[in-house]
Symmetry: D2
Subunit: 343 residues, 4 copies
């Protein structure tokens, strides 16, 4: 038995990665592949790495083309998914790779996105406490942002175990340029980004902050405040997140290690590395894996957690397919057994 | 049924890529993983991207550890494979990723490597005319070099079809740095290679020249002479080969295109791109695919063929496993269905 | 005494590099800085590396703004420079960084650019035989293309010395992405170019071919035919050119070396490296230097010459200022004493 | 009049950058160029970008070769400089690019370096309050580390103005690979670092932490505690530091901006960017400039300061020469007027 899947936004980076993973997924067949301005093109022109799908033609992103599939992936600009989802049958699994349905607080949405809130869907990060259960049988799934994925994987175990102070989390993330999308902008030209780094969206205004705080607060059972700074690194893929939080009095290195180890001991995709080994984004490139390491800095009273993921994979398409597998009752790792591609 | 496979040289780049591909191969089980100075280490320390094998321990590269498997991959320094192969049973499939058994002409070997020739094994480039047949049932296979793989894929169709002059082939290749191996050398430091390019081994003395000439000459049915210049590009993986040859009088663009199209029309891994689309190494990164395009330059009377492969994959480990599949009677594409990882 | 200089196209890469070099040139003062769509902007916004000029405002590219300077640099799209130059006084030194005035053959221009030929100006590559003299006192200068600069530096000594066959030159160049300009295109995004290589404009149709042939033919005293293939490399700056030509019978390695050594023995910016050392583009990054090495490949009867330059510097802005110095009677190296910036 | 300068450690990255800058310094002449294992080599072999010094021969690093110059740069491994300095005349200006003489607290030195403290020399960061005065006429100068340079430039204005809480500074820095030096290590190979990021030396144990705390505490007039995490980015040069500190109650965005603007208003090399423009390491590449921007994150109560420098230039060689200029009574900007080299 095979589930039919439609993929919208197929000319972009998220859509391309969804297709790459679906192409080798044993339980699905790829139906409509849709795009907006690129409708009518051969996929091989736009995604030349997808050899087995090269001759497929992109069709227009419309309800007509998306309907009639068991699963519909939406990789669309902000604000576009709710309207389409409303016109798809309720028993179609709709997976939104965009931001529209991630936030629970309508006011946070409106503050950061300036439009009406589209509602909240089950959040596709199965490793968070209780989330795997919520995803079983779900027919609407919000794919987490890539920065929140790495940030939550980094810090949730400590908050869930009650070991961290909620009021002064500092997170600095470096992302590869695919995180900024595929639209042609001068500041994203290779000439501009190769050989240099720069921050962007600094100062609390970054749209991912409320999503990170939402996840940490849920784990902590109370409001967590985050200072989050994203930076752009000269690499195509990957996020390296450095997350730090004050440790509660009386908590030592062993208790911290134990909390993280316990949180991820059974997880197929999230790995606390052996002591002394630190994450490298290349170790997860092209894969749905996340690698973590932590250190207790007694001097400053902080735990420093480093987490590396592939922003397009575990941070977007891989996480989406992992959630799809859970929702459909497939093996959770189906289609996601890729190792990292290194070096 | 599953074939047991041992992999030597597992701490290097070629060995790592063999393991990465074998880990998701449906027809094999991974037995001994061996190394020289790194014996005793945890694989996850040396190849942190191989998550499913992270806890495997490397053992010493010895006949004792390698024997008893159906297949043995040798990814060893020049001169080391013949001795080991001689001590392995004749019905063990031994696949040599090194150079020792590629050349047919002992004098060419001695000139370029300065040691006695170890003999010639069936050459693992199934897309060459007649080679797929030679690989069926073979129990010794020489894996082609990565430069020769891209060069032969680029030009053999034209020579096999009798369309090219044999006496003035010029090939310039750009390779990612993994082609230079994993040993610590100052000139291969990231600080030295990022942001720049340089040639190396220029002037006919490059060890891959006789291997390229051997393959082209076989296709042409007569001696082909090649000027080959390799350059080092600031990327981890990938080879972009620009190969040009004089076209025989009376041959036009259509005849050239037809020859290449016919040569690769049934091939699962080698793709002549639609006209107007040129190869990009990222389109094949992490995959066993090769992409080609050609243009007839009437002005200079030359055909220019561009070929992109992943040097570690189709250029080494992927080609090796493709040949293994043929030799063992498995599906030729087994374990090699990866798309390229882009962007 | 100081010459006043106006720079047009100041928001682009060529214009930015001209400004960078002029800012530390002891004999000039920078007057109008002009742009088209960016007129009105602060320079520091568009060229954040030009600290000493950060607060200068860009004005519109018009004859009104450009007139009244001793020197005017034009870094404009094809076809735009002739009209402006015609309105500037004859004793203003006009330096065209674009292609309009490079070619001597109107038919070649029309074939490759599809418009009427604007005329031929003295060619700003002082190292070519006889060119330094033509630049003295010139008031119109055509800046060579970056590929022709590296190609001509590579091969002219051999043709000028009568050592090379004219009918089968093969050149393959790898260029950094700034060579493709600063306009926002998806295929030039960092995500697309980092970690990969691709050819472009293959097959004799590349616009730089007639310019390369023009220079080589002049040196050879007869028509030279070139097959030229440019490729795009994952680096911001730099061109590595691999140029090969058949060597005339009876010519050996020593005669070849002698010809190149003699040609460049007195040159301040072009360096034949000691035997055994090969060019690296990082060794010339940010500088007006060119480095070369050559090898005689007796096997194929070809000389292989490798030449590295910075495409924006010696290939554009540096070469332009070197020519300006000569035209104005300044020290030829004035403002160009930068070493390469490595690593 | 010209000061004679000797440079030790000339085959490394710091020594190479010192030479690059000195080669165009109007007030100095370069005397002995020394190395350890590379003594006897031609400089052009080891530093191929230093064209004007290519034919200079490296001599052994010994007091004999270093003595007799007005200035001696020491770019040596930890622990090597004190012994040499002791044998040089007291009126020789000795500039130590290593760590030996940076820390004031012998216990901090011993804890992090495990050897006896060599003493404290005037600290070569002229932009710190009061430091320019201490450098005038100095004959021993300790060059700051590159991470401390960027961290102190980022936060000292806020502490000096009494606007920041001392007890919870969090700094995350990304450095180019030259920061890790030129010794051949597998983890620094281009194949390993291109396309990925990783942290290192995490958890309070990093040797630069006490140096950062020393500078911040001096500015604050009391102990400042820092959590510092360095990461390695895929670029040759550059440091991007993200530094955050809690803001004292009652302090707003305007007061913060004013403090930083005032601190750097007269500085030739340190630039607070216009609001809305964020630092990019490429804007300072190859130059002695530092660029900063800050944002007040009212949500978390933190100021976030971003600072970009070139680790080899302002972070090492440029800062050293700036301090030399002050010590010798030269123009402070002499030999340091380079713009950034971008893109």
């Amino acid at each position: 038995m095979s589930f039919s899947v439609a993929v919208s936004g197929a000319s972009g980076y998220a859509g391309g990665e969804v297709l790459r993973l679906l192409a080798s997924h044993p339980g699905v067949s790829i139906g409509a592949i849709t795009a907006h301005s690129n409708a009518g093109s051969r996929l091989g022109e736009l995604q030349p790495h997808l050899h087995s799908l090269a001759d497929r033609e992109l069709v227009d992103t419309s309800v007509e083309h998306l309907a009639g599939h068991d699963v519909v992936f939406l990789a669309l600009p902000h604000g576009a998914s709710a309207g389409i989802a409303a016109q798809l049958p309720e028993d179609t699994l709709v997976i939104d790779a965009g931001a529209d349905h991630r936030l629970e607080d309508p006011m946070a949405w409106e503050k950061f996105y300036g439009s009406a809130h589209a509602g909240t869907w089950p959040y596709g990060l199965p490793e968070l406490p209780g989330h795997r259960e919520r995803l079983r049988g779900a027919r609407r799934i919000a794919v987490p942002g890539c920065y929140p994925t790495s940030s939550l994987l980094a810090l949730v175990p400590g908050f869930a175990a009650g070991l961290l102070e909620p009021d002064d989390v500092v997170i600095v993330s470096a992302s590869g340029t695919t995180g900024a999308g595929k639209s042609a902008k001068v500041n994203l030209l290779g000439s501009e980004v190769m050989g240099g780094m720069n921050p962007y969206g600094v100062g609390g205004g970054h749209r991912h902050t409320p999503e990170i705080e939402q996840g940490l607060s849920a784990a902590a059972g109370g409001q967590v405040t985050v200072s989050f700074t994203p930076t752009l690194a000269p690499m195509s893929r990957g996020i390296l997140t450095t997350a730090t939080a004050k440790v509660r009095p009386g908590t030592g290195a062993a208790a911290l290690r134990e909390a993280w180890a316990a949180a991820y001991s059974g997880e197929p995709f999230v790995h606390l590395l052996p002591e002394g080994q630190w994450p490298h984004t290349k170790a997860v490139l092209g894969s749905n894996h996340a690698v973590l390491q932590l250190a207790f800095d007694g001097h400053s009273g902080r735990v420093i957690v480093s987490c590396a993921i592939d922003n397009l994979n575990k941070g977007t398409a891989g996480g989406a397919i992992q959630s799809m597998n859970i929702a459909l009752g497939l093996e959770e790792t189906a289609g996601l057994t890729h190792q990292g591609v290194a070096p």
